[in-house]
Amino acid sequence: MGNKTVNLIGKNSMRIVLTLLPIIGFLILWQLAAMFTSIGNLMPGPIQVIESLFISFAKPLGPHTIQMHALYSLKRVMVGYGSAVVTGIIFGVSLGLSKMFRALFRPLFELIRPIPTVAWIPISILWFGVDEMSKYFIVFYGAFANVALSVYMGIQRVDPVLVGAAKMLGCSERQLTFKVVLPSCIPYIFSGMQVALSAGIMSVVVAEMINSYEGIGWNIHAGQQTANMTQVLTGMVALAIFGLLMAAILRQVERRMCAWNTRNT
């Protein structure tokens, strides 16, 4: 027992070391390159960037502090991504369950889907103006297809033996959808949501770089305009933290809801 605990601690600290080693190594190399090579003339080292990140919590970058920028981006992601998840699930389920719906909308969906998110920005401004709505739309567009496709795939892969078992146990056709088809899709819904989240964050940055006065994407864009590489890199680091946090939260939700799908929980 005692031995096992020690072993576990050993294993855990080993993992932490393995995780941190490349990150710290990368930061040191970057710092050294900024200090001693010509790269230093082009861009700041990590110490300066992290310092700037901390300063920007108090001193505004452009109109807002960095946390306010992050909140703007967060709100856009939440609205656009949230509505994409809800409608994507409904759309994917309809595609999977209704032949009629599939015949009607699958071709249109396949036709629109290949158009990259960025290409929609001019149209989104035309339709929704330069306000929040156009950003919501871009995030929505970036996330929607990932959720819809994933759910659709989940429905196609429902185990027919499980469906048969449910019927034998007295499940009506109507109950089948809610008692068997949808629950067995949950892992697919979450994997679609993870991919869609990355796509949504990518989209919000693109939208903010082209058409915005605030948000993390704006920071990067504004830094580029004024040749302020520290601001660009500060924005990038903020994005890394932002994306990491969002994905981690989603993974926690998934772990709660899909406890049945993983051993040892």
């Binding site: 033996v161 048969g164 019927k167 146990l169 007295g170 629950p183 049945w260």
Partner: protein, 263 residues
């Protein structure tokens, strides 16, 4: 002769008349059909433990699907009592070769699935489910998810789930096929214990001769694909049976010989 005496005074629960089953196969070049069951006729009597014994891939699962009502025969008909079986129904329970538990439901959730779907009173169905969970020896695991259970335990849940609707007849399609030999021996004894406790008609499918002789009141030997009845045997050995008793080995040998001819 022996058979006549066996069925005397017994009520037929399932009657299968001249059932044929063909699957459409759509190849790239040709469309055609593949005959899996060819004129299958048999009767299952009240509260007997019948084993359908046939070689692998002979069409056992296809036959169970038709007998249980999940699939329709291409020709022929199946009756439960006087009513024709045309669709899945709670009067028949099935235990699956692939176990097929609902992975997102707990042990209790799986066992309660049928009664809940039918809208049976909550407290009543919970009580019955608990009774069955205890019967299959899973008390303490009510809130466990299938993924955390061993194969043998999962199939115990499968059995309890099938009993929960109180069906008149239970179809068990190679329920222990996926288990290791040790667990399998144990589960064979378990299923007899459960059978004695919850007297129902059981139709048990296997491709294992030892399992067939150990369990059956009557063995129906099936031909290889396309399948139909080759031969029937009344197994009048006392229970509990011993795998090594001379009579056991004798019956086992006789059926094996007949099966070789059937192949």
């Amino acid at each position: 002769m022996e058979y006549q005496k066996y069925i005397e005074g017994r009520k037929a629960v399932i009657t299968c008349k001249n059932v044929c089953k063909e699957f459409d196969i759509r190849d790239r070049k040709q469309a055609g059909s593949f005959r899996v069951i060819d004129d299958l006729s048999l009767s299952i009597y009240e509260n007997e433990f019948v084993v359908l014994f046939g070689p692998g891939e002979c069409g056992k699962t296809s036959a169970i699907n038709i007998l249980s009502g999940l699939d329709r025969p291409t020709a022929g008909s199946v009756f439960q009592g006087d009513t024709q079986i045309t669709r899945p129904g709670i009067e028949r329970g099935v235990v699956y070769q692939s176990i097929a538990l609902f992975p997102w439901l707990t042990v209790m959730g799986n066992v309660e699935f049928g009664p809940k779907a039918r809208g049976i009173d909550r407290t009543q169905s919970r009580k019955r489910a608990q009774e069955l969970i205890n019967l299959v020896g899973l008390q303490g695991f009510e809130n466990a998810f299938p993924i955390s259970l061993s194969g043998g335990m999962r199939q115990r849940v499968g059995i309890a789930r099938a009993y929960a609707n109180d069906p008149e007849v239970l179809f068990m399609d190679e329920p222990f096929g996926a288990l290791d030999a040790q667990t399998r021996y144990m589960m064979e004894e378990e299923i007899l214990r459960i059978y004695e406790h919850e007297k129902r008609t059981v139709v048990f499918v296997t491709n294992n001769i030892e399992e067939a002789v150990f369990l059956a009141d009557r063995i129906i030997l099936l031909k290889s694909c396309p399948t139909s009845v080759k031969q029937e045997y009344i197994i009048d050995l006392e229970r509990p049976r011993s795998y090594t008793a001379p009579r056991f080995l004798e019956i086992r040998q006789k059926i094996t010989r007949d099966m070789d001819k059937a192949l």
